[in-house]
């Protein structure tokens, strides 16, 4: 590991805060990036990591606080400014243009030019080739980016960042889609970048990786820095404790679900798979959820959890395998098939898959149930409003007026509105994909409470999460999903942080790297 050399700070955020509508995503955060070192940023989803990165990369401006680079205050108004200052970011979703070749990708947006008009292909190819060679990936420059593996695309992005003479390189979950060998190759690249004095910001959920690579550690929780340390005084427990915190009251621990094991499960899945182009995995996913039970699927990003729930919700056109509700086999070709069978999904990405921003809160909530309120083809507004109000009250949706646009709600209340949309269909089985993503602490506890009371009233609840604490707090039973397969099952009582983490890590990554 790194010796006790004091690396100098190259980039620094001083007291930055960022607010989105009603949520405070970052609260007076200090964060230092040291040159020639791997600066690890850790936190659960919604802790504020990506917001901080957006500020450092010039995508957004902080509400308060400044960003300093080598003792100079930066006034960044766009990603272009950040790039000019020497800050480059490689996003989790790679921004490689498949239709262009490697040289074109590396120099996209800052093409080398000769005779002040024409692209200097030769210079681009030689400089690009040199860059890739330095990264240990001598791929021919004329290769189309679309034909490259994910790992190599990532290298292209890194090369692009370095071609702009980046002094700070931000890597957001760089290994989430990589195979073990590709990840190892990436670690070598990182080591060589360190040696060249580049300050690396490394974001990942994979503890093993962080402990292997990291020199400096910063933990974010709910928009605040809750831990700062160097490799010498950081270990697994230190990270897990600070990441999750013990912030939820003891009285919220769940009453054990006592229903007996021999009744017919409300939801039963046999022989399913979640295979897509990017996810491999098992062909034989089996799962059963009883009436009144809350089952959590814990796993890292890209494990296939979302695909599994979307399949059950009829959103993947065809659910491979066999699905039974109350013992009866159902066909799942469309979302309305699922809704008719009593399965409703609260999707993971509220903005993209859930909310209709132009519609009011009321209209968003009743969206899936309009025909139920209709007589002779017209929506009966009074019935609709009454039912919407009833649910809003039951779920404690904090809105001044249900006729306001749904975007006026805070994240937690938006989530409750989507939950209300599902409940309005009187489902038997409720699926929730990351039920508290982007939701603040108070609303989290509230959502847990609501879900527990729904389960108590007889619903079967199946949710996914990438937060250990959420799995432990909410689920009666936890399944771990790794790379498209269920790899472990725990009762709530046995699911400690350690065993869950261990079960969820694609272990090959670190073993082969070590």
């Amino acid at each position: 590991m790194s010796d006790a050399v004091q690396h100098c700070v190259v980039l620094e955020a001083r007291g930055v805060s960022k607010r989105y509508d009603s949520t405070l995503a970052l609260d007076r955060v200090d964060f230092q990036v040291r040159a020639g070192a791997v600066n690890v940023l850790i936190g659960e989803n919604g802790a504020g990591k990506s917001t901080l990165m957006r500020l450092l990369a010039g995508v957004e401006l902080p509400n308060t606080g400044d960003i300093w680079m080598s003792g100079r205050r930066l006034d960044m108004r766009s990603p272009r400014d950040a790039a000019a200052a020497g800050i480059a970011i490689v996003h989790q979703e790679l921004a490689v243009m498949d239709n262009l070749d490697i040289a074109e990708n590396i120099f996209a947006g800052r093409e080398l030019v000769r005779s002040s008009a024409l692209v200097d292909r030769r210079a681009e190819e030689s400089r690009g080739a040199a860059a890739l060679l330095a990264l240990g990936k001598p791929i021919p420059m004329r290769t189309l980016a679309g034909t490259l593996s994910l790992g190599n695309r990532q290298v292209i992005e890194i090369a692009r960042a370095l071609a702009g003479n980046a002094r700070v390189l931000i890597l957001d979950e760089p290994t989430s889609a990589l195979s073990a060998t590709e990840a190892t190759a990436l670690f070598h690249v990182i080591a060589s970048l360190k040696a060249r004095g580049v300050g690396i910001v490394y974001i990942s959920h994979r503890l093993n990786e962080l402990l292997l690579l990291g020199d400096y550690f910063t933990v974010l929780r709910d928009g605040r820095v809750v831990g700062d340390g160097t490799r010498d005084n950081v270990d697994r427990t230190w990270i897990v404790e600070r990441m999750s915190g013990r912030r939820i009251d003891a009285n919220q621990t769940r009453a054990a679900n006592t229903s007996s094991g021999n009744e017919i499960p409300l939801l039963e899945v046999r022989g399913a798979n979640v295979k897509t182009e990017s996810v491999s995995g098992s062909d034989d996913l089996n799962l059963a959820v009883r009436k009144g039970e809350i089952v959590g699927i814990y796993g890292l990003l890209g494990a296939g959890r979302t695909e599994f729930l979307e399949g059950l919700a009829g959103a993947r056109r065809e659910m491979p395998g066999e699905v039974r509700v109350d013992g009866a086999r159902i066909a799942l070709h469309s979302v309305s098939d699922a809704l008719k069978a009593g399965i409703a999904l609260v999707p993971e990405d509220r903005q993209r898959d859930g909310l209709v921003p132009d519609l009011s809160i009321r209209e968003n909530i009743s969206l899936a149930s309009l025909s139920g309120f209709s007589r002779a083809g017209f929506v009966r507004r009074r019935d609709e409003s009454a039912r919407v109000h009833e649910l809003a009250e039951q779920l404690h949706i904090a809105a001044r007026d249900l006729e306001l646009p749904v975007t006026s709600l805070s994240g937690g209340n938006q989530q409750k509105a989507l939950l209300a949309r599902c409940l309005m269909r009187d489902p038997k089985i409720l699926l929730l994909d990351e039920p508290t993503r982007g939701v603040d602490v108070g609303a989290k506890a509230e959502i847990y409470r609501v879900l527990r009371s729904l389960a108590a009233s007889g619903l079967a609840i199946l949710f996914t999460t990438s937060e250990i604490e959420e799995a432990q707090l909410l689920a009666d039973r936890i399944l771990v999903m790794t790379q498209g397969a269920f790899t472990a099952e725990f009762s709530a009582a046995n699911a400690t942080d350690e065993v869950l983490f261990a079960a969820a890590s694609p272990r090959t990554t670190v073993e082969s790297a070590a």
């Binding site: 805060s17 607010r19 509508d21 009603s22 949520t23 405070l24 609260d27 007076r28 509400n63 308060t64 709910d222 928009g223 919700a313 959103a315 469309s334 979302v335 309305s336 699922a338 809704l339 999904l345 999707p347 993209r352 898959d353 859930g354 909310l355 209709v356 921003p357 132009d358 519609l359 209209e363 009743s366 969206l367 899936a368 309009l370 025909s371 209709s374 083809g377 017209f378 929506v379 507004r381 001044r400 306001l404 646009p405 975007t407 006026s408 805070s410 937690g412 949309r421 269909r425 603040d440 602490v441 108070g442 609303a443």
Partner: protein, 348 residues
């Protein structure tokens, strides 16, 4: 201070929302002052007939645009519908002439067919609405020309002995001193307003335009809704073609050329976003009025045809610019009440 700012902002927002009405009133006042014959009953009646053409097209297309699509084929469908009716009334099928009612129904059925084609191309074959309806624009126009080899079907008034009279009533008759096309416009608009505001279908259209993925996950049958929007647009377009043929007592295959542009302009002037999800049917009616008043008024005032085009273009561009402005103010207003605290703090 925050309060006064948000009050003036909400007044501004209201004015912006009513901008089409304000523009309409302003235009009427200006033209009335410039031309004494503008506000005469006779001229208003002519004006209303012109407006009804654009309005029926625009109102019909509003659902398509609200759901995030576009329908470029309406002008051609109008032309085709007129030719179908004209052909059946004057030439007939195998020499057998049809009556007015049958001809009208047949013309509307053909229009509906084009609408179904539009809808299927967009939903089942994944063709972008702009391209799909651009294709049917040419197909329908070509079909209209083929029906008569490019000639006009004249004398649609028909003869009593042929049993083919009555077609002219559609475009020329009055009810309570108001031309029938104007009544049709009002009835269609009223029905469409009701559908938009009060039926599941209307709500689904807005939801699809606002967030198609979310609409799909809410169990809405997106394909079905979209096909219906194109059908509705096409039938309205067919009706317009029939009205024009009835008014002229002849069907010309070039009828309705570039009408789609007027219709789209009217919808946009009425405040409907071309991205879908936001707008209103009533707005499209007002937008059609603005376009109609502008066109007729400029003629009466004696502005040259070339300047008329420039002015129409300026008005459309201005309307869309203001639309962007309104969206920005609106989002600021809805965010404001919840972020009033001066010190940052986490709101539960």
């Amino acid at each position: 201070m925050n309060d006064t700012r948000s009050i003036s902002a909400s007044t501004l927002l209201l004015l912006l929302k009513l901008r089409a009405v304000l523009v309409l009133v302003a235009l009427i006042i200006v033209f009335a002052l410039l031309s004494p014959s503008f506000l005469t009953a006779n001229n208003l009646s002519i004006l209303a007939k012109h407006v009804s053409i654009t309005a029926i097209l625009a109102v019909g297309m509003t659902f398509v645009i609200l759901s995030g699509g576009i329908d470029l084929s309406v002008g051609s469908i109008a032309g085709l519908a007129g030719m179908v009716a004209g052909g059946m009334l004057t030439v007939g099928i195998h020499g057998h002439l049809s009556g007015a009612f049958v001809s009208i129904c047949a013309a509307l059925a053909v229009s509906l067919l084009v609408g179904v084609l539009n809808g299927l191309l967009v939903t089942q074959f994944g063709v972008a609405p702009f391209i799909a309806t651009l294709g049917t624009l040419y197909i329908a126009r070509g079909a209209a020309l083929l029906l008569s080899q490019g000639r006009t079907f004249p004398d649609l008034a028909g003869t009593p002995e042929g049993g083919s009279t009555g077609f002219t009533a559609l475009g020329q008759s009055f009810f309570l001193h108001v031309p029938l096309p104007v009544w049709l416009m009002l009835v269609i608009t009223a029905a469409t307003v009701l559908i938009a505001a009060r039926t599941p279908f209307g709500r689904h259209v807005y939801a699809i335009g606002g967030n198609e993925r979310a609409a799909r996950l809410a169990g809405i049958r997106i394909d079905r809704v979209k096909v219906w929007t194109y059908c509705f647009s096409a039938v309205c377009a067919g009706l317009v073609g029939l009205i024009i043929a009835s008014q002229l007592e002849s069907a010309h295959p070039a009828t309705g050329e570039s009408f789609e542009l007027n219709a789209i302009a009217a919808v946009v002037l009425g405040g409907t976003s071309l991205m879908g999800g936001r707008g209103s049917v009533g707005g499209s009616l007002i937008g059609a009025c603005v376009i109609g008043v502008l066109a007729d008024g400029l003629v009466m005032v004696g502005v040259s045809e070339f300047w008329q085009m420039v002015i129409k273009g300026v008005v459309i561009v201005l309307a869309v610019t203001v639309d962007q402005f309104q969206a920005r103010i609106q989002s600021r207003l809805t965010a404001a009440p919840l972020s009033r605290g001066d010190t940052p703090r986490v709101l539960a």
